[in-house]
Amino acid sequence: ELKEEITRILTANNPHAPQNIVRYSFKERSYKPTSVVDHLAVHFVLEGSLLHKDSDEARRLRIRDGLPKEDAPMENEAESDENHVETPATPVEDGGEGEEAGEEDRPDSVASKPDKKEAKCTNQFNFSERASQTHNNPSRDRSCQTEPPPRITFSVAANQWGIYDAYLEELQKQEKNKEKKKTTLLKKDNNTSKKKMTLMETQSDDIAKVGKVSKIIERMINQNTMDDIAQDFKYYEDPSDEYRDQEGTLLPLWTFQYGITRNFSVTALCWNNKYQDLFAVGLGSYNFSKQEGGMFLLYSLKNSAFPECIYYTTFGVQCLDIHPQHSYLVAVGFYDGCVAVYNLKEKEPHPVYKSTAKTGKHTDPVWQVRWQNDDMDNHHIFYSVSSDGRVVSWTLVKNELISTDVIRLSVNGAVTDGPNSAQLSSISHGTSFDFHKQIDNLFLVGTEEGKIHKCSKTYSSQFLETYDAHSMPVDAVKWNHFHPKIFISCSSDWSVKIWDHTINTPMFTFDLIAAVGDVAWSPYSSTVFAAVTTDRKYGFKLSPSVGLLSLCNTIKVKSVMSDTFPVQCSN
């Protein structure tokens, strides 16, 4: 019995629906069987909240809400209709909740779809308006006024005679122009010869142009390789300075070398006032027996590999100075006692002016030259001091140098041209001098005997004062740039002394254990100065506790401080 197969057939018929229904028909007064029995079984009904858009009620609602009539796309409605019909027919398995969620989702999506083309017809139960406002920044008024264009007053009286005069003048000018034109016709012949000249020049111009470009490129290359140094030059600040109270640092920046100069020693340095990266170097020899001529070079900081200008001289250059206003004039003092003035603007390698034995050149090496302010006839003047005991002022008059002895140095006092005394007093050898920054007439001369004389340009027979400064030749004497009374002197007797010119004894003395070659005040601070000895460079800052600022271990001899940059320059 268990093996018996029983077949079952699934049909769409509702098993609960009656197969035959008989109804009493009042019309025919008899029982009639209904042929078709409805097999529809409704499992679940949910009343939806959707209204067809075009139905009466919806239309009424819309009118009440004031929404415009819609000619909505038919697809949306067709879809909603289908959804509406399908849901009751699908068999329920999860229960009513799934259906409800499904139905609610669909009204949302249907409602949102028409949004694109119509205003939102959202029902008031599920949707509510919310709004919020961000914080707006407060507004500010800003106004500014530019400077108005500058104005001046103008006044004129316009009258007939003024107009007439103006016309007359105009006529005269025109006549003059006509005359000039006639004379220029004559000059046309000259022009043809000039044209030939210009042809030649254009050829050399090409090379000249290349020259200029190559110069710029050379500088660029040098600056690129030395970029670190250039940055240090401008902005060097050693942070370790904070930790060492008494000491600072001196940073060697560039080395300027030119092959041919190896046999020479640097004897002079000077910065150029106008072009602040330019400086001049004088080369010669300190050795008495070995005098081999000299040179002077112009270097620019922008190109440390090669000098800008080179001048050869027959004798060793001992000192040089660049004119503070006319920075193309360089005064040079030589080992043989000559002085010369070079004009850097001219291409010639010869000096513009040169002193000879006739014009009163020195008989000993000139140790220092210095430009002074132009004299009353607007001629340039410079002073020189030499070992022959004379301080001479040279005036540049047209093509000549005219010398005037300012003062003659002697051991006892100034030489007076008396018949008896002139022969006896011996001549003292001047080695250095310096002019007061503010008082034009006052200057100091340092001598080989170690004395410093304070002199005035106006008194040629007497010193104003003499200081017994050192026991060996005074190598440099310099006034302080700021303090009108202070000057500093250094000597081969290992000492640097600071003086007040009204007091006979030095204010400070520094013993530097080696012959001091040169000393210079800092141009930007009245208490800082630098000194250079045969084996070291020193920078000093005078403070209530006088102390050393820096130390360095190199062989240097000369030092000059630039007026614009806090940089020392030495060889």
Partner: protein, 79 residues
């Protein structure tokens, strides 16, 4: 006055004075209006045969010229 401006203004004055040879006021009006359009406000023009003048003008914006042997024209800008 800058060269270009000067040349233009002179030409304009000559045109205006030739056009309104009898009426200085209209000539001045024409010059003033064209200057305002070309070079910005605000310009002032005086044309006459005899007058004295003391004005404040913006730097480099003044022209004083003679025309026709008897007429003097002064044009300046001062806003």
């Amino acid at each position: 006055m800058p060269e270009e401006m000067r040349v233009e203004t002179m030409e304009l004055c000559v045109t205006a004075c030739e056009k309104f040879a009898t009426n200085n006021e209209s000539a001045a009006k024409m010059i003033k209006e064209s200057m305002d359009k070309k070079f910005g406000s605000s310009w002032h023009v005086v044309i006459g045969e005899g007058f004295g003048l003391e004005v404040t003008h913006e730097v480099k914006n003044l022209l004083y010229m003679f025309f026709g042997g008897s007429l003097a024209v002064c044009v300046w800008k001062c806003s």
